[in-house]
Structure formats: C-alpha cells, structure tokens
C-alpha cells in the first residue's frame, strides 16, 4: 500500500486518532496502577514517620490551608510537602531541601518540647558512595536528634558535615532548619500543630 499523502485533513485525523487511542490506553493504565501507587507512597511516608516518632499511635496529615501556608512561609526556600500530627503535640514535617542531585525528601520529627527527634530520608538522588553517605555514615543523621527547634539556628552551629558530601550534608541541615522554623512558627501560633 502506498503511503498516505499529507493532505491537511489526513494529517489532522492521524494525529487526533493517535492521541485519542494513546490517551485512553494511558487512562486505563492509570486506573490500574493508581491505588497501588498511592499505597506505596503512603507506606514509604508512614515508615519514615514511624522511624522518627516511634511512640506515636497514628499520624494524621494536616490539611488546614492556613497552617500549611504558615509552615511554608516559616520554612523559606525549602519546600514543605506535608505536615503530620503525631498526637501529644509532636509532629513530623516532610520537607524537600536541595541536595547535590536534586531535592531530597525527608521526614523530620519534632516532639512537644520542640526537640528534634530524628531525621529519616524518604527519597534522594545523591551520588552513590559519596552523597548517599548521609544515610550510611554512622552518627550523621543521629547528630540532629535533640536539636532545640526554638533556637534551631543556634543548634546548627555544632553541625558536622561529611567530607566529600558537603552539599548533601548541608541539604539535610537545611531540611532540619526548615523543620525547626516550622515548629517555631506553629507553636507561636498556639501550641503544636493544629488539626
């Protein structure tokens, strides 16, 4: 069969038909995978929250727009992707500061007294063997535990970066600072994270 000539009508039809078929096949795939994808994301987040706030019974995502806006304003340039109320005035902040290889998403727990309880990296794209030391280097993530969120900039003075992974280390530090600022802003507004 000869190739179809490029008349305007045929060109339009070819593109429209291809697009419609591909859009419907994508909608179908999306339907099939949507629940699993959401479940996977929830699990990853839950696991990270559990790691930094082991005592909490459950985590309730804060959905109040004003609270989230306040949090984002306090965090400055670091994106705040989620806020989770762990009960008892403690909460987890999901932030995404920039590392060497793009944003690193991490959960930082802060307890009711404003002490950082821990940092857990959810996703990162750092250089394997160098930047990824932020997760494997003994003591690196532990050093953030106990930082005082009400004076987070003061606490950050005693920070030790990993040599060879300075930008990744500083990224984690920026995340913790952002979480501290979020805590300070929210607790100033009337104690802990609001629902």
């Amino acid at each position: 069969m000869a190739r179809m000539p490029s008349t305007p009508l045929r060109m339009i039809l070819a593109v429209i038909i291809t697009s419609v078929v591909s859009a419907s096949s994508l909608a179908f795939t999306y339907q099939l995978t949507r629940d699993r994808i959401m479940e996977q994301e929830r699990l990853a987040r839950e696991e990270a929250l559990r790691e930094v706030l082991p005592q909490a019974d459950e985590f309730v995502e804060v959905e109040d727009e004003d609270t989230l806006t306040t949090a984002q304003d306090a965090a400055g340039e670091t994106p705040v992707e989620g806020l989770f109320d762990a009960g008892n005035g403690a909460f987890g902040v999901l932030v995404a500061p920039r590392g060497y290889g793009g944003p690193m998403r991490m959960v930082i727990g802060v307890d009711r007294d404003g002490k950082v309880t821990g940092v857990s990296i959810v996703t990162q794209n750092e250089t394997p063997g160098l930047g990824t030391k932020i997760m494997t280097e003994p003591g690196f993530l532990d050093q953030f535990a106990g930082w005082d969120a009400s004076d987070i900039d003061g606490a950050a003075g005693g920070f030790d970066a990993i040599s060879g992974a300075t930008r990744s280390s500083n990224g984690v530090r920026a995340g913790v600072l952002a979480a501290g600022h979020v805590w300070a802003a929210l607790s100033g507004e009337g104690g802990g994270a609001e629902r």
Binding site: V15, T29, T33, R36, P128, G129
Partner: protein, 218 residues
C-alpha cells in the same frame, strides 16, 4: 526468517546503539551506577523500543509523512508513561533510583532514531526484530557497565535489597568509578572492546566468504 535474524543480530553487535552508534549515552552514563537500576532501565527501553517500533511499522501507511514526528512522539510517550506508572506501582525503590530518567526515555535518541530510521520504512516483523535487537543490545551494555561500576566503586552488587556479591570491609573502591569521569573511562574501554570484537567478527565473515567463493570456483 534469515532476514529477521540478521536484523535482530545487528542491534546486538555491529550496530549496537551504545558502543557503535553511540546514541542515548546521557541516560546510560547517568543510571549505570547500580546493577539493579540498569537492569530495569534496560528492560524499560527494550519494552518501549519494541512496542513503539511495532506500532509505528504497523501504522506506517496511515501516518502522513509531514506529521510523522508528532505521531511517533505520542506513541513513544504513551509506552513510556505506561512503564513509568507500572514501575512506580510495583518496584518503588527502583523507580525512585531511576527518577527522571524513566520519563526521559521519551526523548532518548535510540527510540526516536529507530522509529524514524527503521520502523517507518519496514514491515512489522522486521521492526519487531530491530526493536528487540537494539533493546537487548542497549540492555546488555548498560547492565555490563553498571555491574563494573557498582562492583569496582562500592565492592558489592545489590539486587532488590539482597546482596549478590560482596567484597570484605577491607575493600575501599575508587569513588571515581561511580562518578561521571569513571563512567566515561569504563565506557571508553567497553567501546574499544566492542570495536575489537566487531573487527574480529567482520574478518571472520570475510574469510568465510572468501572460502565459499574459492570452493565455488574450484
């Protein structure tokens, strides 16, 4: 059948997309730091390449020449999105590692190049052979490169959370193997190896042909 095998084999050796044609190198060098990531990247490219080549070859008479590139892109992007969603749902750790490189398969030169250069001008069964051969050639090289880089750089090879091979704690790998310069150096050796191998294959073929002509004339 003979033609099919000939087309299929070309992607593996003499026209290998990575070591001979040298297209699609950007993603290759970027994701070849881990065996596991490279394996799934190779499979993803193979799937997208074979499927899009098949569809494009099947529709080649209905795609007017002037709009062929938009149609190719739509077809390729659909398959890439299918891979993207599936990986996200079933192998989240690999998906996180590959990150932006999965959606970027859409603009990978290998796939658009094969669609434009081969599938659009050939019958469906040959396009399938080309897609499979090129895909397998790509997968083989990227997996080999990643295996070398991960093993030399970190002294172990991990697959889906379980360690396959591990050197002891005494091993301190040269970190450069995991960085871009290391990728270029190791890849350079692989290109040299492929050149040597293809040269030998070629000389053997010429010899065989010479023998055949001599016997025929004798």
């Amino acid at each position: 059948m003979r033609e099919w095998i000939a087309v299929f084999r070309r992607g593996l050796a003499v026209d290998n997309p990575l070591t001979v044609l040298m297209i699609g190198l950007c993603a290759t060098l970027a994701v070849s730091t881990k065996f596991e990531g490279a394996l799934f990247m190779g499979m993803a490219v193979m799937f997208v390449l074979t499927m899009s080549s098949t569809i494009i070859a099947a529709l080649r008479d209905f795609i007017p020449e002037k709009v062929r590139i938009p149609v190719f892109i739509v077809v390729i992007a659909s398959f890439v999105t299918i891979v993207d969603l599936t990986m996200h749902a079933f192998i989240p750790t690999v998906y996180t590692f590959l990150g932006v490189w999965i959606p970027l398969i859409v603009v990978n030169c290998i796939i658009l190049g094969r669609a434009e250069g081969f599938a659009y001008h050939n019958r469906v069964h040959l396009a399938v052979a080309d897609g499979l051969g090129m895909g397998l050639g790509f997968a083989f090289v990227i997996v080999l490169l990643a295996t070398i880089r991960e093993f030399v750089g970190s002294g172990e090879i991990v697959f889906l959370g379980s360690t396959l091979v591990r050197l002891g704690d005494w091993y301190r790998g040269p970190g450069i193997a995991l960085l871009f310069p290391g990728a270029f150096i190791i890849f350079g050796f692989m290109v040299a190896g492929a050149k040597w191998l293809n040269g030998r294959l070629e000389s053997r073929r010429i010899q065989a042909e010479a023998c055949a002509t001599r016997e025929a004339s004798a």
